[in-house]
Symmetry: C2
Subunit: 433 residues, 2 copies
């Protein structure tokens, strides 16, 4: 069976989606999930809680595709209208599922909540469905096979929906569509390099790998460019093998830009791991970023092992009094200067007695720019007993974006120094005293 | 004309929406917008860039509703497939709109980009449409009236779509549907009080106001509960009047919890305004929040007028050396204690020479909790020459949520002190030395 021909439609039920109170993230997640399994997602229908509309949409979608995924309308507050609509559509009755009923009763018992009739309705399902047990909530999932189409109904609560997809429906799909193949994904995160430089100059053309069922996507995200490697195979190890060959090639070309793997990996987490491995401590001296770097570093559980602390020196007096920046240099070169960035990084490391000091000083905006130093001008400093330098960048006109970019660039600068990578983020030049 | 009977459907065109690369935020925004105008949003269709599918979806939606809003598929990279589909559906040809063509040519000239034939295609529109001039991009909006239904086509780029809705289509709707009425909204932001306490105990039943066409919604957001007051009237001043009467009533009941107005207002912005008004400066001493408070404060443009800086004292040695916390007290009471929070707040204000010092020390988690001081235990300190106290809270088990909540609570604590409001956020008790 060729999966390129498999069509799926998604139906999202709920007024909250139509009036804009809730953004339909379920449909995006399901779209990505089904695409990764090789299905073509042709339509998403978001509809209100009306029985006739649910029936007609279900009926049309099922006749136009091989599979339909339906979310929402299963909670007790929705009067179980999805189940009633499905039962009417298929001309069957509802039955009470004993396992689900017992489970819900027990759940209420544990939580000391009285069990009412409307709660027992949660255990009712159309006669012709296969129940998909939902241990994340009270509404079960349902699986139907009617008129040459498969239908899965799930609650609209995102984590319940995802649980059912990943644990039950994925298996049902495997079974229903036979040799569906296996998907293996790796997410390689890069920081400090632009998407086009990375794709055109560093990695180059890798289309020869695509013959093995592998795909490579460049996903620009706020923290950097993530490389998504997807591989499909008849077995999991086949899928892994082709992905790993491409990953190895990418590492050989772009290894120094890759901070690690995983969709959610951040530069502060990657840097933290290195600091632990090297048994080193760090402190921050922040002007323009105003505490953002310290905040990012301490978002990581266990960061107290290597973050001693930091000084937010927003006012020049704090730079002088707390970090030992020279008043004369401040006057001569200005707060946004190489010499001040250097003194801040060294000052905080000395003061807080750490192995490494990092610093930022810049013009975040919207005001404060000059012709010589426009909004977006940033100096970022590094100090350790082995190295002491600063890098200069011109970011954007947007205050928050500037804070974010200089924070990330500073953290990536530290990561590269610790790993003896000479090239700085965005190829910025190291400047010494 | 009664607007309760007006039905609208939304069609979002684009593969990126179906495969989950882009979340359909346009549909949510449009749903909220049309709901606020009194329309019933019955269906949202997200479909791929296929001409037959676009035609059949358009045709069905138009016959089922009074108005259809369509986004996407207008860019030059999409081969203008939406325009071709619409022209085919209505049996008309495309014509070149001179004003749009001149505008695009000029745009390219200014940017020094060569003008190609595919670019001139952007100026082509179906003969039967009224062009909605789009000064935010190159693809114009289009307005149709066919078979008793209105159709608006817009680009999928969110800010272009919003521009067209707010500046052109809103007026077209007014004209098309006659006495549509006017909507006036106010967003009152509260911090430091739970939704149910606010609605049940403080504000109470306001349903008598609803007769004047006003509605009140409690919107729980990460930063607190926002009250949305919507009013509809035959004239704008009528809509404003009924909203203002309800707002006045809410201020009389819940004024001290309201930090200001506007959807995007943050507690750090509200506090900043007060500090400027009172000509006072502030410094932060952060342990568990790790720089988050300083970061929030400095996210506000112009904050350098009142934020002198801060000290992130993650390690105890930094608390002692930089903030003057007593080593003995640290030993006797632990870092997460009233006395340490008090000393941190005072210490940073003295050291950075500010009018106000605020501090946090707590167990952010996931580890580090004890039976006496479980994860989520936080002390937040305040110092000024007039007052010196700390408040204690038990937040959650989640590290990032804990950082966020204690940051917000600390900022709100400071706001209330500055405004002489004795009640602390979440009714926490002030504890003195």
């Amino acid at each position: 069976m060729n999966f390129k021909d498999m069509k799926v439609q998604i139906i999202s039920i709920g007024n909250e989606l139509l009036i804009g109170d809730t953004i339909n993230t379920n449909a995006s997640w399901l779209g990505a999930y089904m695409t990764s399994l090789g299905f073509e997602v042709t339509e998403v229908h978001t509809i209100s809680d009306k029985i006739e509309l649910i029936k007609s949409t279900l009926s049309r979608s099922m006749s136009d595709s091989d599979m339909v995924l339906c979310t929402g309308g299963l909670g007790p507050t929705h009067d179980d209208i999805t189940k009633a609509a499905v039962a009417e559509l298929f001309g069957v009755n509802l039955r009470t599922d004993k396992r689900v009923l017992d489970y819900i009763k027990k759940l209420f018992e544990t939580r000391n909540i009285p069990f009412s009739k409307s709660n027992s309705g949660q255990a009712e399902v159309p006669e012709n469905c296969e129940v998909l047990f939902n241990k994340m909530g009270t509404a079960p999932g349902m699986w139907f096979h009617e008129e040459d189409c498969y239908l899965a109904c799930m609650p609209g609560v995102p984590y319940e929906m995802k649980y059912l997809m990943e644990n039950h429906i994925s298996k049902k799909i495997q079974k229903a569509f036979g040799d569906i193949g296996f998907l293996h994904s790796r997410y390689l995160k890069t920081v400090g390099i632009g998407e086009s430089t990375l794709s055109d100059n560093i990695i180059g053309d890798v289309s020869s790998h695509f013959e093995n069922g592998v795909s490579l996507a460049y996903l620009p995200m706020p923290g950097g460019v993530t490389l998504r490697l997807n591989g499909m195979g008849k077995t999991l190890s086949e899928a892994e093998k082709s992905v790993n060959i491409l990953a190895e090639y990418i590492y050989s070309k772009a290894g120094k830009y890759i901070i690690g793997e995983g969709k959610e990996l951040t530069i502060s987490e990657a840097l933290g791991k290195i600091l632990i491995q090297q048994n080193k401590t760090i402190a921050t001296a922040e002007s323009c970023t105003g505490g953002m770097i310290a905040n990012e570093l301490t978002n990581i559980a266990g960061s107290s092992a290597y973050v001693m602390g930091g000084i937010v020196s927003y006012a020049n007096s704090v730079k002088v009094d707390q970090l030992g920046v020279s008043e004369k240099d401040l006057e001569n070169f200005g707060a946004v200067s190489k010499v001040v960035a250097l003194q801040m990084a060294k000052g905080v490391a000395k003061k807080l007695d750490t192995d490494i000091g990092i610093s930022t000083t810049g013009i975040a905006g919207p005001d404060g720019g000059t012709i010589e130093k426009p909004v977006g001008t940033f100096w970022m400093g590094f100090w350790s007993k082995d190295e002491h330098f600063a890098i200069k960048a011109l970011f954007t006109k947007d205050r928050l974006l500037n804070k974010e970019r200089s924070s990330r660039t500073t953290l990536e600068m530290a990561r590269r120094v610790l790993l003896n990578i000479d090239e700085m983020p965005y190829n910025l030049e190291k400047e010494y005293i």
